[in-house]
């Protein structure tokens, strides 16, 4: 998991250099990697857009094709026509269909409904930001999951920011997990910058979900950078008194791993080295790939032909 968190940090930072429209995940790696680490391949992942690419990689996506998405290349998983934050939808991942976020929560819930309908023991993990917890979609979907006892784990990455607005200005109740009570599900807040706390809390929720008991988990974290790579975060000056920055999860994890004797300094260093090399190779390969304009606008790719459906 340390390796994945480091890879997320290095790859994400590099993509921020390549694309101004990237959403930097720096500082939130524990709550992202820990949230999706416990899923089986047959399960379904619906990650938040911030830090989404490491989840795609954990599900089997190749790094260079993800880099293609930052560079608007034809070999991206979206066929060269989709969003930079879309993933390979055939690897147990919810697709990214629009910039208006919130509908994904209901769609992830629909996947959980499908698993229950077919009496499969698969679960869904759906992550989103604290900003989405004020959407109607969130409340409607959680109520539906509560009514139907759906196999789903909702995780709020509470990084305290909805673009430029601090949570003290958009949440009536700073404890997002308390919504769980209204929807008859398990609710729990935890330190999202603590990898082990994240992973243990999510694992327990996944087990509950397999028994038809949904959960709403709140990973308390901190958005180190702006909303998008080019965001200068000047608005933060006005909110210094209410902000609650959290310590970087990676050095925290490294100290813990060394203290427990799980990994030595040299092992940790090797992960950083490998992440650097993997990222450089992926970007070099992506840079050599053809631009998305070669795929054409795809008038014949709007509707799936009847014959192709199994």
């Amino acid at each position: 998991m340390h390796r994945l968190m480091v890879l997320s940090r290095v790859f994400d930072k590099a993509c921020c250099e390549l694309s101004n429209n990237w959403f930097p995940a720096e500082g939130e790696e524990a709550s992202v990697v820990g949230a999706f680490y416990g899923l089986d391949p047959a399960d379904y992942a619906a990650p938040h857009y911030r830090g989404t690419h490491i989840v795609y990689h954990m599900r089997g996506a190749e790094l260079w094709r993800l880099a293609c998405q930052a560079l608007a290349k034809a070999d991206s998983y979206t066929g060269g026509r989709g969003f930079a934050h879309g993933g390979p939808a055939d690897m147990g991942l919810l697709p990214w269909l629009g910039g208006d976020i919130g509908p994904q929560i209901a769609q992830a819930t629909g996947a959980a409904l499908a698993f229950k309908y077919r009496k499969e023991r698969r679960v869904v993990v759906n992550a989103f930001g604290d900003g989405m917890s004020t959407r109607g979609d969130f409340h409607e979907a959680l109520n539906l999951a509560g009514i139907h006892h759906l196999p789903i784990v909702y995780i709020v990455h509470n990084n305290q920011w909805a673009i430029s607005t601090h949570s003290t200005r958009f949440l009536a109740n700073q404890n997002v997990a308390e919504h769980a009570r209204a929807y008859n599900m398990h609710g729990e807040s935890f330190d999202g910058n603590d990898l082990f706390a994240t992973q243990q809390t999510v694992s327990a929720a996944i087990e509950r979900a397999r028994e038809g008991r949904p959960s709403l988990l709140e990973a308390r974290t901190w958005r180190v950078r702006g909303h998008w790579a080019g965001d200068k975060v000047e608005y933060r000056e006005h909110l210094k008194d209410v902000m609650r920055p959290q310590p970087d999860p990676i050095p925290r994890l490294e100290e813990e791993l060394e203290r427990r004797g799980v990994l030595k300094g040299a092992d940790l260093q090797r992960h950083w080295q490998q992440a650097q090399e993997q990222t450089e190779q992926a970007i070099a390969k992506a840079q050599a790939a053809p631009s998305s304009e070669v795929v054409g606008i795809g008038l014949d790719k709007v509707f799936m032909p009847r014959a192709q459906e199994a």
């Binding site: 991206s76 998983y77 979206t78 066929g79 060269g80 026509r81 989709g82 969003f83 879309g86 390979p88 939808a89 055939d90 919810l94 697709p95 990214w96 269909l97 629009g98 208006d100 919130g102 509908p103 994904q104 929560i105 209901a106 769609q107 992830a108 819930t109 629909g110 996947a111 959980a112 409904l113 499908a114 698993f115 309908y117 077919r118 109607g136 979609d137 409340h139 409607e140 979907a141 109520n143 539906l144 009514i147 795809g298 790719k301 709007v302 509707f303 799936m304 032909p305 009847r306 192709q308 459906e309």
Partner: protein
Amino acid sequence: MARLTYVEGVIAALTQCMRQDPDVFLLGQDIGPFGGTMQSTKGLWEEFGYERVIDTPISEAGTAGLAVGAAMQGLKPVMEVSFGEFVTSCMNEIVTQAPGVYYYTGQRAHCPVVFRTKMGDGPYRGHPQCYESWFMHVPGLKVVMPAFPDDCKGLMVAAIREPNPVLFIEDMYLYHAVRGEVPDELYETPIGKARVVREGKDLTIVATGWFVHKAVAAARQLASDGIDVEIVDPRTLAPLDIETILNSVKKTGRMVTAHEAWKIGGAGAEIAAQIAEEGFGYLKAPIVRVGAPHVPVPIPKPIRDVYLPDVDDIVSAVKKVMAWQR
């Protein structure tokens, strides 16, 4: 063959598809023991139970998202949006989400969802909206709008078997008012194929829903004046069978469009524009559109009847086109 009402045609399709395919299930408000608003799902809960006829909370956006999410897993949900005005509460799923699944995923996923809803002149409590033209504008969404019971059945079967999202618009006026022969067996009416309801040589009326029936009545009146109109019912607004309409105009040289929805920005405007672009050379006179005046739909019956375009409006439009001289 049985004589069924408009909505019974839809229900026959749902019943037979659900018997044949366990992946087909229904979601919507009051569709269970209540039998659906205006009896839209009468008898289905009795046969298929709560597992496949799922009564939902008043949460159109959440329910539509549920349907889209389940469809991406390969199930075949049919979500009922009780009335057309409620589509505004789940517009995001119908417009920005479901239609982009196949395109934006690089063809790695698809979304075989059906949204069914009722539009048009209905109970005078409310809900009389006709929003179909909004959806023609959206690539990736198929928009179906039948006018006859047999098309209700055949097109609903096709919609359920369609691998792409479909908005199935049912005409509220015709719901219980129209009866017709409907074959007993499971059959499909292809999406994207217009129906020539009446053949004629002088002028083409392109009409949808209730207005197909009004056009038929207008045609009878016009026949006594020696005007022989052809009536084309597109049946599906997207994809639009412009070829059938164009061929008709090629024969008649004149066109009137007629629908209950507002004239401005209505389906008739798009059809007229396409014919002007592709068939200008065939036209002997300008195209005239019949549609509702540009006011919010008045609710009480007496004023609604003033508001709604009628058979006479279609007759006058046709006469205006026939009389046109350069």
